[in-house]
């Protein structure tokens, strides 16, 4: 477990370094191509990337929770969920994470945060509705293992840094589209506006190419193996494999698709958020697949 934690910390630092270096490169290119000098571009880009990295580290969990529309629930609202989370936190010897519910019918769950002292666990309404207590314990045990191993740190940073790249590409493309469309007639009057339009366009194109690559990056940084690991470790906490097995079976057979599914946060969830109910083998999903097939996980748990 200690090696897991160390590896995850290394990975996080590497991600930040990559993100900053990459942004600097883009900044340099823009400065060089459009403003006759790369230095200013690099400085601005690095400042931007450092701010992005810091906010991803300190506020990444809040961003992820907000993007899934998760709502924090009190112990009075959801006594059973709170009791289960507190129980497994005791078993793991860590402070109790904050508890969230995602308004979504597909049964699923995730954990986020930067370390066990700053962690949150979120489950979907659908999961709460169909799971009994031992199944819920199995699910939360799995998530608690991610908290213990600092998988949540890497996962959250990946989600926010990659999510930012995707968001920015959309932003740039859209602002180019609008400004380009509207300024078409006025372009002769102001040369500056033309340059800005071009810059936005170039950045947008670069980010657009990067967005699918980002999906691959997620796959690289969060190994599918850690899901098996978290299953095994979670069962070590609950001491009851049938709980998680039956929970995974219910998730496998659930007829709902996830509305909040997107590529930036897919790797965080307990099971691959499916866009089409029951279809976990579509081409798109295999391309961005961050999780092992659920049946394989069930089989491995059965062997324990």
């Amino acid at each position: 477990m200690r090696e897991q934690i160390a590896a995850n910390k290394r990975k996080t630092i590497l991600l930040f370094v990559l993100a900053i270096a990459f942004t600097a490169l883009i900044g340099y290119a823009i400065g060089y191509l459009f403003f006759a000098g790369g230095t200013a571009g690099v400085v601005i880009a690095v400042i931007l990337a450092v701010v992005l990295s810091l906010s991803s580290y300190f506020a990444g969990d809040r961003l992820v929770l907000a993007s899934t529309r998760a709502r924090e629930v009190s112990a009075e609202e959801e006594p059973r969920l709170h009791n289960v989370v507190e129980g497994l936190a005791i078993a793991a010897g860590v402070p109790k994470p904050r508890v969230y519910v995602v308004p979504e019918q597909a049964p699923n769950a995730f954990a986020t945060g930067r370390d066990p002292n700053h962690s949150s666990v979120a489950v979907t309404q659908g999961l709460l509705d169909i799971m009994n207590r031992v199944e819920l314990e199995g699910v939360i045990g799995h998530e608690m293992s991610h908290v213990l191993d600092r998988d949540i740190l890497v996962g959250t940073v990946v989600a926010t840094v990659v999510g930012a790249a995707v968001l920015m590409s959309e932003f740039f493309m859209r602002s180019w589209f609008w400004s380009g469309g509207r300024m078409g007639g006025r372009r002769d009057s102001g040369g500056d506006a033309g340059i800005i339009t071009l810059v936005l366009f170039a950045v947008g194109i670069v980010l657009l190419i990067l967005a699918p690559l980002a999906g691959q990056l997620i796959k690289l940084s969060v190994s599918r193996n850690r899901e098996y690991l978290a299953d095994a470790q979670g069962v070590l906490l609950t001491r009851y494999p049938p709980g998680l097995i039956s929970a995974l079976e219910k998730i496998r057979d659930a007829p709902h698709a996830m509305k909040a599914a997107n590529n930036a946060t897919a790797h965080l969830w307990l099971d691959q958020p499916s866009r089409v109910p029951g279809d976990d083998t579509s081409r798109m999903e295999r391309l961005f697949s961050t999780h092992p097939p659920i049946q394989e996980r069930i089989d491995r748990l059965r062997e324990m």
Binding site: P79, R80, N83, G87, I90, N132, R133, V134, E137, R239
Partner: protein
């Protein structure tokens, strides 16, 4: 001269090791204490729940006096208990008393349906499983500490600085299983 330096080097290494090993022992002991206080918190929560639960059941089944008394006595004994082994015995008595109480409740549909009872039952189930998890954590930490105290060379330091072995906290292991259908079996989850 060289011989002197070698001796100094060995002594320095020994001291470094001793500091490290001593700090490890302290860490392990603190985790055991932390684990114990967590058990204590959860046990106390259960003591606090019992009068409420008894009162609620009484409202519907006043004549089941025997069970009420058994639970009350077990609770008093547990509060007065000292030491992990005695405590564990007393807690087992509470658990079996509570199981009977819930079995009694089973015969009163109005009681079983009341919101107050359901909330108390959730609280009780939650607390019992927290006791189980706290015990699991505590016993794991005790095992780690005891191993360290017994194994050479840290055993030398442990003897020197009086690190004592700790008792395990044993509560009878009730079967875990799905609890959604049968209200009566909810308490067995601990």
């Amino acid at each position: 001269m060289v011989g002197l330096w070698i001796v100094v080097g060995i002594v320095a290494l020994l001291v470094l090791w001793a500091v490290y090993a001593y700090n490890r022992l302290v860490t392990y002991r603190n985790r055991v204490d932390e684990g114990w206080s967590q058990i204590d918190v959860q046990l106390r929560r259960r003591y606090d729940l019992i009068p409420n639960l008894v009162e609620t059941v009484k409202g519907y089944a006043a004549h089941e006096r025997e069970v009420f008394e058994e639970v009350a006595q077990a609770r008093a004994a547990a509060i007065g208990a000292s030491g992990a082994a005695e405590q564990a015995n007393a807690e087992n008595a509470i658990t079996s008393g509570l199981r009977k109480l819930l079995a009694v409740a089973e015969n009163y549909p109005d009681l079983k349906a009341s919101a107050n009872f359901l909330a108390l039952q959730e609280e009780l189930t939650g607390t019992e499983s927290k006791i189980a998890y706290a015990r699991q954590y505590y016993n794991e930490q005790v095992r780690l500490l005891n191993t360290r105290i017994q194994s050479f060379p840290s055993s030398v330091l442990a003897g020197l600085f009086r690190f004592d072995r700790r008792e395990f906290f044993d509560i009878e292991d009730a079967a875990r299983g799905p609890v959604e259908v049968d209200l009566g079996s909810a308490s067995t989850e601990a």
